[in-house]
């Protein structure tokens, strides 16, 4: 008997589910990756479920998003038309929305010393104005080798109009053992930077995804039958083996799954996961670019609103002298204080103190009761200034922050859902849904799916072309 397996790899949690080709489903498992690595988790599930043959393993992941957000990828070299070596970094956005004497630009997934110019030029009509000479490439190879770079991105001007120079450089570099990411292949945009960032991020993520693929292979071990096909979900094209070579599209793999699974295009979908909240507006149009924190990236995907409030939004001290939600996402490394490792309170900790997380199976063994006191102390310390003039308790603080989070979520959903119907999905939706619904009286708020299955089950059941 052969199985189709769905695997969702988050930053700290993974979910797995399986379906027999004849249609029988197995119950899913969700586990905490710092305690059980990916390969061991897969092995355990397959063994416990008695699965001995997997036809296809379907993977969606938010790994890429985390790696980009935390700048954990492998920096490639970027070759650009000479005269534009500074161009990718010159217009990086300023992080601070207000005036400051110490402004900081967003960090790019590139290093200055790994951006090199090539003396060549193709004009807007695709005509060669300055040919690319072999000597240019020879010299460059020496520089790349000196810098021990093996991933190279090509970003030459107007390469989508005429890819001649990029093709020449691509062949030359491939023959010398480099892994090359030409930007001419990204032909859906007429702007150089979104195209360069696209190619750059694929190169930036590829080594980590290769590693995930290895872990998955180890997890699958020696199964009977044919070797399983491990396909990666993307936001633009069908899931495929080759997607592992261009993993940037995986940023919207989960969004694509929900987009395909919604029965009515006029329904908006709010995903309330353990690691992320996002909204799929109704009648979503396909988006061409993704607005990263360092600029516009060409990345076709279903229209998705990445919400400002996230489960791991950091709580900081507001300018009014009280704790409040920041716009910074803490993530799970080190994670919420209630997991025993984090040192800064997150929205997750507020939900924990408000007794919202008890019913979630995957969290039960990780919540550390002894931390409750410390979270309360931290929040009270943040609130000291405001509490000087009023009388409130740490319970009030938690309530008010939760209220602010829910109001903010409702505000953003209202602004972008473009529908009268909102469907909720995700492990936190049974908890947050009833709290959100009264804040959105004009919407009909219901569950996306009565059983609220995990994302892994959607992967298993989705149509794969």
């Amino acid at each position: 008997m052969s199985w189709t397996v769905g695997l969702y790899v988050g930053e700290s949690f993974a979910e797995i589910a399986a379906k027999q080709d004849e249609g029988a489903h197995l119950p899913f498992q969700r586990w905490f990756l710092p305690h059980t690595p990916l390969d061991k988790g897969i092995q355990k599930y397959l063994t416990e479920s008695g699965i001995d043959s997997v036809r296809q393993l379907r993977v969606a992941t938010r790994l890429g998003r985390q790696m980009i957000l935390r700048r954990l990828g492998q920096t490639p070299a970027l070759l650009v038309t000479s005269g534009f070596e500074d161009w990718p970094e010159m217009n990086l956005p300023i992080k601070d929305p207000r005036f400051t004497i110490v402004p900081k630009r967003a960090a790019p997934p590139l290093a200055n010393h790994l951006i090199f110019g090539l003396a060549e030029r193709i004009n807007a009509q695709g005509e060669v104005e300055k040919p690319l000479a072999d000597e240019e490439l020879e010299f460059l190879v020496a520089k790349l080798q000196m810098n021990k770079v093996d991933h190279v991105v090509l970003g030459l001007m107007h390469s989508t109009m005429n890819p001649e120079h990029e093709r020449k450089a691509e062949t030359y570099l491939r023959e010398r053992g480099f892994k090359v990411y030409p930007s001419y292949a990204v032909n859906g945009t007429g702007s150089e930077k979104p195209r360069w960032w696209h190619a750059t991020l694929n190169a930036y993520l590829e080594p980590a995804f290769k590693d995930v693929l290895k872990q998955i292979s180890r997890g699958l071990g020696e199964l009977g039958g044919e070797e399983p096909q491990v396909v990666l979900f993307r936001g633009d094209t069908a899931p495929h083996l080759d997607n592992w070579q261009a993993p940037l599209g995986s940023l919207f793999g989960a969004a694509q799954v929900f987009d395909q699974c919604r029965s009515e295009a006029s329904d908006a979908v709010l995903y309330l996961g353990l690691e992320e909240f996002f909204l799929l507006p109704a009648n979503a149009k396909s988006q061409v670019d993704w607005m990263s924190d360092f600029g516009r990236v060409y990345l076709p995907h279903p229209e998705t609103r990445e919400l400002h409030i996230q489960p791991t939004t950091l709580i900081g001290k507001s300018s009014y002298g009280c704790p409040n939600l920041t716009f910074e996402v803490g993530g799970f490394e080190p994670g919420p204080m209630c997991f025993g490792r984090g040192v800064k309170p997150l929205l997750f900790d507020i939900l924990y103190l408000n007794d919202r997380l008890q019913g979630i199976e995957a969290l039960r063994n990780h919540l550390t009761e002894r931390m409750a006191g410390r979270i309360r102390e931290t929040l009270s310390a943040y609130a000291r200034e405001a509490s000087n003039r009023s009388d409130f308790l740490s319970q009030d603080i938690c309530r008010w922050i939760e209220e602010t989070a829910l109001n903010s979520l409702a505000c953003e959903v209202r602004a972008h859902c473009q529908s009268k119907r909102l469907k909720l999905q995700g492990p936190l939706s049974p908890i947050l849904g009833p709290l959100l619904a009264p804040r959105l009286p004009e919407l009909e708020v219901t569950a996306f799916h009565a059983q609220n299955p995990p994302l892994a089950e959607f992967l298993v059941n989705s149509e794969v072309g």
Binding site: I101, V102, P103, L325, Q395, D396, W400, N407, S408
Partner: protein, 495 residues
């Protein structure tokens, strides 16, 4: 869990700030003003926005009755607006459920949208573009389409004027609807006592932050390259910031309106305090700005304002930082080049390309200056070389950091930008550089930075010719314009 109390004011005000971030998200610059012209929240892009958004709302409410849903349009700098390319749309809003169409709305929602500038070397504002005094464009739910059409037919009116106005008003309508729904769902309180409390609390926190700076008084003068004098008596005491520009003279090119000057004063102080507080009437209370009419910091009609409200506002904010450094020795700044080096290439068929170059930031006691960054502009364009080359008959030969243009020092000044453009057909080049002959000085032993410069290299020639600070030049196909923005001054004795 025990029944929760009503949300404490500090938490409520912090939450309200988050709401404004969402509500104003689609707009570059926006403000919500009370009937008494107190800003409840301002989102700004540049220094003039801070002072002129409240200014324009005040002028409109003085002369027009704006009922709920009514919309007024103006771009007039002498009616409180900013440059002529910044359209201000003001909409009356009732947030407390009152619906009396005959009385003015409780709030004014003001949105500013910036259109592409067109440089004109002119002596009066009337030649800088089409000037629209406060004009009702929607009353009682009815759009005055005839009037909008007449404005759009003016030869200086931006091409996409009509569609822009319609799109912005539609976005404002959606946001007002959202504010009302959010108000209901989260029981937001827009009553006068609650707003008074918000302003008082903001003022208290801002004053407290201001008091971290040393107090004192300093009088400083600066002579512009064209010989005019900028004079400031800055007083920081008892949580107040007073700016007295008495003694400042008129200017040849740099004309700031009072609103822009107010914006530069507040913006400079906000940047130093690095406050996270929302910009509302509570912060405005702390400032007192005196600017003699007719001087460069309070221009009189019909002086043109483009250069003053762009480069001039930055120059003023940098000057304020210099003054502040003399009161508080912990906050010392080298000089920064104020000029955005605006330039404009006008081709045939009414095709014109406009661009600016960001200068390098000055170094300070806090560290090195950032390369290619105008700190007085929030939203930075993300232009595309390929798109520019497709739309205009030109080739961008290079666009890069102007190496070594920042002053050296223990902390180096930020480097400026170099851009070279070769035109493919004949066209007219116009440009404006402010303080082109004055190097941005270093501080505490830091060295001066390079000045902004513009060169023309004629087709087939190797030599390039340096051009004056502002002017107009007929370029021939194959000519190249090379522009360098200035660096920022260095800080501290170089090793």
């Amino acid at each position: 869990m025990a029944k929760s109390k009503a949300m404490n004011s500090a938490f409520y005000f912090a939450q309200l700030k988050s709401y404004f971030n969402f509500w104003f998200e689609p707009f570059q610059a926006a403000a919500l003003m009370t009937q008494e012209n107190q800003p409840v929240h301002i989102k700004y892009q540049n220094l003039p926005d801070i002072g002129t958004l409240p200014g324009v709302a005040e002028v409109v409410s003085r002369y027009l009755q704006v009922g709920e849903g009514d919309v007024v349009l103006t771009n007039d700098p002498y009616s409180g607006g900013s440059t002529l390319t910044a359209l201000n749309l003001l909409m009356g809003v009732n947030l407390e459920g009152k619906t009396n169409a005959k009385s003015p709305a409780e709030f004014t929602f003001c949105v500013r949208v910036n259109m592409k500038p067109h440089l004109h070397m002119t002596d009066t504002i009337e030649d800088e573009g089409v000037r629209i005094p406060p004009t009702p464009i929607r009353q009682g739910g009815k759009f005055n389409t005839e009037l909008l059409k007449i404005i759009s037919e003016h030869p200086h009116c931006p091409k996409n004027f009509l569609t822009t106005v319609e799109a912005v008003v539609a976005a404002m309508d959606r946001k007002v609807e959202q504010i009302k729904r959010d108000t209901q769902a989260a029981h937001l309180d827009w009553s006068k006592p609650r707003l008074k409390e918000l302003f008082a609390e903001t003022c208290k926190h801002f004053t407290h932050q201001l008091e971290h700076l040393a107090s004192g008084e300093v009088e400083k003068e600066m002579t512009l390259e064209s010989g005019e004098k900028l004079k400031l008596l800055l007083t920081l005491e008892e949580g107040k910031a007073k700016f007295d520009f008495t003694g400042s003279g008129p200017s040849a090119h740099l004309h700031l309106t009072y609103g822009a000057t107010l914006g530069a004063c507040i913006g400079a102080m906000v940047s130093v305090i690095n406050t996270n507080l929302p910009l509302n009437a509570g912060i405005f209370e702390v400032f007192e700005v005196r600017a003699p009419q007719g001087s460069l910091v309070n221009a009189k009609y019909p002086a043109p304002v483009y250069q003053g409200l762009t480069d001039g506002a930055g120059l003023l904010a940098n000057f304020i930082l210099q003054c502040l450094g003399e009161i508080d020795l912990q906050h010392r700044f080298a000089h920064a080049g104020p000029s955005l080096c605006s330039f404009d290439l006008e081709f045939s068929n009414n095709l014109h390309f406009f661009d600016t170059l960001e200068p390098g930031m000055a170094a300070s006691s806090f560290g090195r200056g950032v390369d290619a960054l105008n700190p007085w502009q929030r939203s930075h364009l993300e232009p595309s070389i390929e798109e520019i080359e497709r739309r205009y008959p030109l080739t961008v030969m290079s666009c890069s950091i102007r190496q070594k243009s920042g002053g050296s020092g223990n902390f180096e000044g930020g480097n400026g930008v170099t851009k070279a453009i070769t035109v493919k057909t004949n066209c007219t080049l116009r440009w404006m550089i402010t303080q082109a002959s004055q190097k941005p000085e270093g501080e505490q032993g830091g060295k001066a930075a390079s000045c902004a410069e513009l060169y023309i290299q004629k087709a087939g020639q190797k030599e390039r010719e340096k051009m004056p600070a502002r002017g107009e030049f007929n370029m021939k196909a194959g000519d190249t314009v090379i522009m360098h923005s200035s660096g920022g001054g260095g800080y501290g004795g170089a090793a």
